[in-house]
């Protein structure tokens, strides 16, 4: 099972992250974000619904990705991940009520 799956539709993409996002799996996430960039994705939805744990390396990749696309939305994040996103200044990217 991969930690990051990217599905690109035109200029939009959905990045589904799974399990533990930390130093061991961050390479997969970075690679998926790089692919999205290569394919000129401008709207990126990052689905954190299946994430058990995310450390600061995950937050760093999300922050970097947010700066590289026109619109990044974080969807379906578990409550513990939402708290950390908010505490580290990434709360504005959380899509409220979106799937």
């Amino acid at each position: 099972m991969t930690a990051a799956d990217l599905e690109v539709t035109g200029r939009s993409a959905r990045l589904v992250l799974r399990g533990e996002i930390d130093l061991l799996t961050i390479g997969e996430v970075k690679a998926a974000v790089a692919t999205a960039k290569e394919r000129h994705v401008t709207e990126l939805d990052v689905d954190l619904g299946l994430v058990d744990f995310m450390d600061s390396s995950g937050l760093g990749v999300l922050a970097t990705a947010a700066a590289e696309v026109e619109r990044l939305r974080i969807v379906a994040a578990p409550i513990s991940v939402i708290r950390i996103l908010e505490m580290t200044g990434l709360g504005d990217f959380i899509a409220i009520g979106a799937d």
Binding site: F53, L59, M87, T88, G91
Partner: protein, 435 residues
């Protein structure tokens, strides 16, 4: 002539499987002591030897080499007072890096017992009949050491054992070179980190404690930093930050970022505005990667702290009386990635004398498999139940409880301030106290 190239010259599936396991374990370890021990243990286990020894060359900081050894199947005391293997005909192919040596009975080998003073094994040596030895070489042909295996009975090693040992010696070479490089890199990073973090002298009216702890894994440094900068008007600028990455590159970047921020702090005292200037600076100079930081200015006349955060976890406030809590409010995004549109908001916090405010990096509260907010609640509960005697003690107690003696998964920087008395304005500019 050695008894070589007899019997099967290929490995069966079981042997390949074992060898694969050994290789995978060895090349994943970066600690030299653990690597050499794992090598000799694996070699002994897989070949069925009774004892094994891995003689290896260790380089000191000056680049001088000395011979060390790791033993398997025999207590170290059995080798007390034993001389290192001499320049004998038996050992030459191993320590000159020429080829593998295998004997069904080493005492009958033509190369055995040719060299004074011992003419064979020293009298007090373990009994060895079966003998198998391989050099451990780098790709460039440098001899890193020799793996020697023995058994008191004759005829215990066959051609398959020879191939297995050759394979283990190959993995050993990769693992030893990796460990050496990692050690050298870690030393450089430590030196850099140590040289770049300031020491804090006596400051009137306030106790300031600072800590830096490298990560446990080979004491690996990262890009965490703290800074204490006395301003011309008597206030203190305080910073804790984290530059993404590890080792030499992160330590070097941390030095650049810390210096850049201190320049902005001296010119623009509002913490949010100085962070905003740093963000602009990082983007203008095209420095890659992201930075999180909390910037504060402590006023010694009023015991107030102005705090601004960019992507950084909130400081912990431990009142002399009352409930400990993390600072409210959400910060701006991290610096250096182009997400910041305006200066992070600056919040003013009023401290009472004896209160403590603790700034830290995520290494203190980030654990594998535990959500960070859960660990933060544990930190809050921990400090609630112990009266704070000093900022220094609080730092020590938090590190002891949440990191332990040997360091955590990540490096940690920490800064705690505790106002002890209100300092009236002196009317003159105090000299900056930095080293």
């Amino acid at each position: 002539v050695e008894e070589r190239n007899q019997g099967p010259a290929s490995l069966g599936p079981d042997a390949l499987h074992q060898l694969h396991d050994v290789g995978r374990t060895l090349v994943a370890d970066l600690d030299l002591g653990a690597v050499v021990q794992a090598v000799v243990d694996a070699a002994r286990r897989i070949t069925g030897a009774a004892f094994g020894v891995f003689f290896h060359e260790v380089l000191d900081a000056a680049g001088d080499s000395s011979t060390h050894f790791a033993l398997s199947g025999v207590p170290r005391s059995a080798f007390d007072g034993m001389p290192l293997p001499g320049r004998t005909q038996l050992f030459a192919p191993t320590f000159l890096g020429q080829h593998i040596v295998r004997h069904d009975d080493v005492t009958e080998a033509p190369t055995y017992g040719r060299t004074a003073p011992h003419h064979g094994l020293p009298a007090e040596h373990l009994p060895v009949r079966s003998y198998l030895a391989a050099p451990v070489l780098t790709a460039a042909g440098e001899v890193l050491g020799g793996l020697l295996l023995g058994h008191p009975d004759p005829g215990r090693f066959d051609a398959e054992d020879e191939l297995l040992l050759e394979g283990i010696a190959g993995y050993a070479s990769i693992a030893v070179v990796n460990a050496r490089q990692h050690r050298a890199q870690t030393e450089i990073a430590h030196t850099l980190q140590h040289a770049m973090l300031p020491t804090v002298g006596f400051l009137e009216g306030v106790e300031v404690a600072v800590r830096y702890l490298p990560a446990a894994r080979q004491a690996e440094v990262g890009g965490d930093w703290y800074d204490v900068l006395p301003l011309a008007d008597g206030r203190l600028a305080l910073t804790v930050g984290d530059v993404a990455g590890h080792s030499v590159i992160a330590a070097a970047r941390m030095g650049v970022v810390r210096n850049a921020l201190s320049v902005h702090v001296l010119r623009e005292v509002d913490p949010g505005r100085s962070l905003f200037l740093l963000d602009e600076h990082l983007r203008a100079t095209h420095q890659p990667g992201f930075v999180t930081a909390v910037q504060a200015v402590f006023d010694r006349e009023r015991a107030t702290v102005d705090v601004a955060r960019a992507g950084h976890l909130p400081p912990l406030v431990v009142p002399a009386q009352g409930e400990p809590h993390f600072l409210d409010g959400n910060p701006s995004p991290p610096l250096g990635v182009g997400l910041l549109r305006e200066p992070p908001p600056t919040v003013r916090v009023q401290l009472e004398l004896g209160d403590t405010m603790v700034f830290y990096t995520d290494g203190l509260v980030e654990r594998r498999r535990t959500p960070t907010d859960v660990t933060m609640s544990r930190v809050r509960d921990f400090v609630r139940n112990r009266p704070t005697r000093s900022a220094e003690d609080l730092c020590d107690e938090l590190l002891a409880e949440f990191i332990g003696r040997d360091g955590g998964d990540d490096d940690v920087a920490m800064l705690a301030i505790r106002p002890l008395s209100l300092v009236p304005p002196t009317g003159h500019v105090a000299p900056a106290e930095r080293r």
